[in-house]
């Protein structure tokens, strides 16, 4: 049996004294598209930060294709083939589109094939090719999200982590973003998508986790998550 693409085992994490994750378990198989949903403050972004190496877990383990990666620095994690497209995109706003993309392909592994990757990325996002000389901060919201994803792809990841890619985008644009995600997945890249609620991911991720209060509270098919989410909300009274 092949090892999972990504596995979190009992991950606990904290910012200073404030513990935020209380034992998170995920298992994502190679080539899957998995959704992680949950209300604001559930710990979704924190879990992604742990995977990316930006935050050391207090306890627990993170495995990537059979290799333990908690404890590695973020650049080492990227080198292994994990790309995080962070919440809020975090583009280099004062730099051009092209410079952002070149930075995305910074690691030695990615740099050796950077031209090729750039061509592929421009095929996937023709608008970025048109605007490659423009400063990233001047793009529209949808274009910025596309650039953020494209920049992540420049590292030639095996696992792509997307944190709230639909945030602040018009519904039509959200559809375009998810169309891109589908095409990326078709190329064999494993994808974990974090969203606040299930609806944007409903038709794109067959399976997912529902998080609340720093724990996984439910998992299963998208439909299961929808039901659980509704029940949860009625409990919270939201």
């Amino acid at each position: 049996m092949t090892a999972p693409a990504l596995e979190l085992r009992g991950v606990q994490a904290a910012y200073g004294d404030a513990q935020v994750l209380w034992g998170v378990d995920w298992q994502v198989n190679p080539g899957e598209v998995v959704a992680v949903v949950g209300p604001n403050g559930a710990g979704k972004s924190t879990a992604l930060r742990v995977v990316a190496g930006l935050l050391r877990p207090l306890r627990g383990e993170v495995w990537f294709h059979g290799e333990r990666i908690d404890g590695l620095s973020p650049d080492q994690v990227v080198e292994r083939g994990v790309a995080l497209v962070p919440e809020g995109r975090r583009l280099f706003a004062h730099m051009t589109v092209l410079e952002n993309l070149l930075l995305g392909g910074y690691t030695a592994r990615a740099r050796s094939v950077r031209r090729q990757t750039l061509r592929e990325v421009f095929e996937l996002f023709p608008v970025l090719a048109e605007r490659s000389g423009q400063t990233a901060g001047t793009l529209s919201g949808g274009q910025q999200q596309m650039l953020a994803i494209a920049r992540g792809l420049m590292s030639r990841p095996r696992l792509l982590l997307l944190d709230e890619p639909s945030l602040g985008l018009a519904p039509v644009v959200v559809q375009q973003v998810y169309e891109v995600v589908r095409r990326i997945a078709l190329q064999g890249v494993t994808v974990v998508v974090v969203e606040q609620n299930v609806f944007p991911v409903l038709h794109h991720a067959p399976r997912g986790y529902l998080m609340a209060g720093g724990r996984v509270v439910a998992q299963g098919s998208a439909e299961t998550l929808v039901r659980t989410e509704v029940v949860q909300r009625s409990y919270v009274g939201g």
Binding site: L54, P74, D75, L84, R90, F92, A93, L102
Partner: protein, 291 residues
């Protein structure tokens, strides 16, 4: 009128050096968010490197740049590993403050060390072309100052190209803009910090070499160079290398005008006046921007 023109010219020539002195400081602040107030002492060390190379082996001061820069680069690596690099994990505000305090202690230590090693005397590199001047109409331009300006301009141009056109340069700019995002690109941020710090030190070394030819050096010059660099950075912000150069020239001209009009003691006061004036005019501050 001609005297004024002469003074302004002189100020502009010195000012190019101020720009060079400031760029290293701005680079370190922009990337690491640390203020190294021992920057002037690194300039002083660069000056001594050139002075001793000239005195012991007769090395031409413009050739000794090629030694002073890498030597100070190495010093920068050491200072980063031993001192400043230990602060990178702290949160923003204590990082700035502790870096300032450590830099202050370091400045005094380097000053004291230089006195113990090389005495407190003024030293200057007296190459055979040291006294030569160029005449352009009524203007008299000392050759070494003109060469200093030229070297400063060339070094800053090279730095600009490096930051804009190379992967390592882009990584430095990316880290300055958003270090977390830089990490997510696979950029080894800690190594970038070290490189940026060492590069800032190397730039101080180059500035120091030029100071040793066109001015005198002594262990005490550090603080006043730090202040000039700081004031230039406050004037120019962290926006652009070219802006820093221009601000340096501005300070140089203002200083020499004030010294001429009001007396030599006012040369140093001008910087503080400019500093206060900038804070009054642009109270949003100039330190906050990316590189």
């Amino acid at each position: 009128m001609e005297v004024w023109l002469q003074n302004v010219t002189f100020g502009a020539l010195v000012g190019g050096l101020y720009g060079l002195a400031a760029v290293g400081l701005a680079l370190v602040f922009g990337v690491l968010r640390m203020l190294n107030v021992a920057h002037g002492e690194l300039i002083m060390l660069g000056g001594y490197a050139t002075f001793w190379l000239f005195t012991l082996w007769g090395t031409d001061p413009y050739v000794s740049l090629l030694v002073a820069a890498p030597a100070l680069f190495a010093v920068g690596v050491g200072l980063y590993e031993g001192l400043f690099g230990r602060l990178v994990r702290l949160h923003e505000e204590s990082k700035v403050q502790l870096s300032i305090l450590i830099g202050f202690g370091l400045a005094l230590v380097l000053h004291a060390l230089a006195i113990l090693l090389w005495t407190a005397d003024d030293r200057a590199v007296t190459a055979e072309y040291a006294g030569r001047v160029l005449r352009a109409g009524p203007l008299v331009v000392p050759l070494t100052r003109l060469a200093g300006l030229g070297v400063a301009f060339a070094v800053l141009g090279a730095l600009q190209l490096f930051l804009q056109r190379t992967d390592a340069g882009r990584a430095i700019r990316a880290t300055a803009e958003d270090w977390e995002a830089a990490f997510l690109m696979g950029i080894p941020v800690r190594r970038v910090y070290r490189t940026a710090f060492a590069l800032g030190s190397a730039l101080a070394g180059v500035a120091g070499s030029l100071v040793a030819v066109s001015d005198a050096i002594s262990p005490a010059i550090g603080l006043s160079w730090t202040l000039k660099a700081l004031i230039v950075v406050v004037l120019a912000g962290l926006g652009s290398i070219f802006g820093t150069f221009v601000a340096g020239v501005l300070l140089g001209v203002a200083e020499s005008a004030a010294a001429f009009a009001l007396g030599g003691a006012f040369r140093e006061v001008v910087g503080l006046v400019l500093f206060v004036a900038v804070l009054a005019v642009r109270p949003q501050g100039l330190f906050g921007r990316g590189l």
